[in-house]
């Protein structure tokens, strides 16, 4: 087997194993309500961390100003409960315009 196939197989099997933990346990093990509640909170904690790092960082460093500015606009709109499409398109438009104007 060549190296690339090994890499894809390892990544595929490992990722699927991670994904299957929850669904495989469900229905077999009585998950206490408290644990389920923590899993839901943990998912939101992870998503907010992904939001923060995805908005601000790239390859371990600062992502430049254009993207955080776009996401900030999205954040304000989302907080004010703007429709989903408005939030996402505003972020993309602000970031693209700032880049066109020369911001990083």
């Amino acid at each position: 087997m060549n190296a690339t196939v090994v890499m894809i197989l390892a990544l595929c099997l490992g990722t699927y194993a991670f994904r299957l933990v929850g669904p495989a346990l469900h229905g077999r093990v009585e998950v206490p309500a408290r644990v389920q509640e923590l899993a839901s909170a943990g998912a939101v904690v992870l998503l907010v961390a992904l939001l923060a790092t995805g908005a601000l960082t790239e390859d371990g460093g600062f992502a430049g100003w254009a993207r955080p500015a776009g996401v900030l606009v999205a954040g304000v709109l989302a907080w004010r409960r703007a429709p989903f499409a408005v939030v996402v398109l505003a972020a993309v438009a602000v970031t693209a315009l700032l880049r066109a104007a020369g911001a990083g």
Binding site: F18, H26, L51, G70, L77, R81, V88, V94
Partner: protein, 231 residues
Amino acid sequence: MRSSHRTTRPPGARTGTSLVRDSSLVWLAGGIVGVSFGAVSVAGGLPVWVPVVMSLVVYAGSAQFSAVGVLLAGGGPLAAAATGLLLNTRTAAFGLAVADLLGPGRATRLLGAHLVTDETVAFALAQPDPARRRTAFWISGLGLFAAWNTGVLIGALAGTALGDPARYGLDAAFPAVLAALVLPALRADAGVRRAALPGAAVALAVTPAVPAGVPVLLALLGLFAFPGVRR
């Protein structure tokens, strides 16, 4: 996303329509990022089948980008797989969070597990009731899988002719999708907020110092601030 017109009208076909409408933007953005993944892989010297097969069987955007990045930098297949796996550890936590949405059948659980991604989990958890969460998971998951893989195929075949998605601001789309989906929950639930904000601060603080994937895992330390965890 609990806009007023959805709570004042009965659920049903309209629910599906609004979920498809909101998901379709995520599909579009995912498809375009998929195009860039296919193009980057082929431009780096990998054969067309590598990004295409990888996207079908791994189906995890950030892990695929990093694994191919390591591979193209000469890092070796195991280092590449390890980098991607580190990024995907979070899917275990997501799987736990959505397990009850996948239904009782073995086949739906096996298929549903493969569709667990950041966007789809965020999309499902943002819905107000269990029935809607379940529908949202499958609509977002199946659509994103189709869009991502179609995009990767197009990118791998077209090569780099399509340009850099960052020019069009598309790198802001995914953080913005997450903002749209999680900020309403954060606003409504002070307990989750107390855990999520310090968690995000930890993730940002350690990002320059630790491998990709670790920052968001360390964000889970924020759960110690979740009400009732510390006695």
